[in-house]
Symmetry: C2
Subunit: 268 residues, 2 copies
């Protein structure tokens, strides 16, 4: 099974998922496509997100991928089910892995979820949690200031701490959650600050780590793991500016990327 794993995202956030895939499955080759030109998907109408996601998927299917990872919370919420129905390769999204990991970690079954307004309004996390255990109390909370801050490169320091503190205070004060799901792929970059604000007793669940784990599970189950020895050559595609993508990727992956090309995917 030497084909690559395909990873799609509305932009660069999915790089946290790609980074964990590279760490947890170091023999697997990735093809990443970030639709940076049309990012963010969060505020777009559902039909548009579905159309854009299919355009990304068709681009990757031509690259002969063995599995598809939807590394974007909004795209997962709107398209996962139809992708699974229509594709004959395994498809994994970012929402269920985070939900399952939270259920495993939580002792009091009071689980917090933070994300963009789009993801929080979709109620995808409460649904994924409560279909498994209807007694779980979910406190979900939109943090609209986090993505712009992370994209501006503000990942630590007093300004970041202030934004995180102000955003999370209502969630921290009113509830007794023991587990918090980072329901946005940008948030792992400010994980340490979120942990500091929430306190050491709260388990932080990163959907990226958990998604990589479930990709491993599903691929192992379907006998799709690469079996030999190799140093994989990952490929990155972006619909936006190459230089910007390359620069951000270097920071987010903590390594330079060797292959990055422009992808033209729009059918409009």
């Amino acid at each position: 099974m030497d084909q690559p794993i395909g990873v799609i995202d509305s932009g660069v956030g999915g790089l946290t998922v790609a980074s964990e895939l590279m760490r947890q499955l170091p023999k697997e080759q990735l093809i990443y496509l970030g639709d940076t030109l049309r990012c963010p998907y969060g505020p777009r109408p559902k039909e548009e997100v579905i159309q854009y996601t299919w355009e990304m998927v068709e681009f990757l299917l031509e690259k002969n991928i063995k599995m598809l990872v939807v590394a974007c919370n909004t795209a997962t919420a709107f398209t996962l089910e139809q992708l699974r129905q229509k594709l004959d390769i395994p498809v994994v999204g970012v929402i269920q892995p985070g939900a399952r990991a939270a259920i495993k970690m939580s002792q009091n079954m009071r689980i917090g979820v933070i994300g963009t307004e789009g993801t929080i309004n979709s109620k995808a996390y409460p649904k994924a949690l409560q279909i498994i255990n209807s007694k779980i109390r979910v406190n979900d909370w939109a943090c609209p200031r986090f993505v712009p801050m992370v994209e501006d490169g503000i990942l630590s320091g007093s300004q970041a701490l202030k934004v995180v503190y102000e955003s999370l205070k209502p969630l921290k004060d009113k509830n007794h959650i023991d587990t918090l799901i980072l329901g946005c792929t940008h948030y792992p970059l400010i994980r340490d600050i979120i942990q500091e604000v929430m306190g050491e007793h709260v388990h932080i669940i990163s959907s990226g780590e958990e998604t990589a784990r479930e990709v491993s599970t599903i691929m192992g189950y379907h006998k799709k793991l690469y079996n030999g020895e190799r140093v994989p050559q990952h490929k990155f595609y972006t619909t936006g500016r190459l230089d910007v993508f390359e620069k951000i990727a270097k920071i987010w992956l903590d390594q330079s990327i060797n292959f990055v090309e422009k992808a033209n995917i729009s059918k409009d």
Copy 2:
């Protein structure tokens, strides 16, 4: 999908897996079969373990299970592949989930594994770890004194601490593992002592918790999760003495079991 999940084990160790399944998937109904009469499987020849495991599987298939969990490390090592080939329901063992969780947790990719002599000699954990990442350094170590101690009900106190300390000292001293897999379903009952002996910096991975998580993943993926509301009625079967099983189950599950019956499965 209101059928039960089948769980097999050579005895009572798999109750730690059952307990986590009940916690993480509270709507799912379990049918547990423990072959306490012929326990332990660890020292038995491979062919015998395979025969006994198939006898358990056939008993559960007649109960119309939707999924099979092999909650025994020895049985997983010897039969998982053939069960997956021959059964048309999903089959999950305890080894791969523990391995994948360790890969997720470890930062230095030095992973320890403890288990019975049978499991350690089978090299099933090193194989499962290194097929994914051949650079992982695995230190595996048999702890033959743990199972008899746990089965005698010695789960805390100075005697337990002494046995755990003496058993783990060579593993602790010589290596720099940051993650330790409990490769035996009895060990979660002495997890706190193992943590104390290994030190707070070592992540302890319980195969039971991780297996329950992967059962959830695989069932979600195959759309086999129960979808409505119910309080499931679990059923327990044992090939050995009912009163002994019932007493141990109450301690291990931290609740009484309502249904326990004798199972006659031997074809000899």
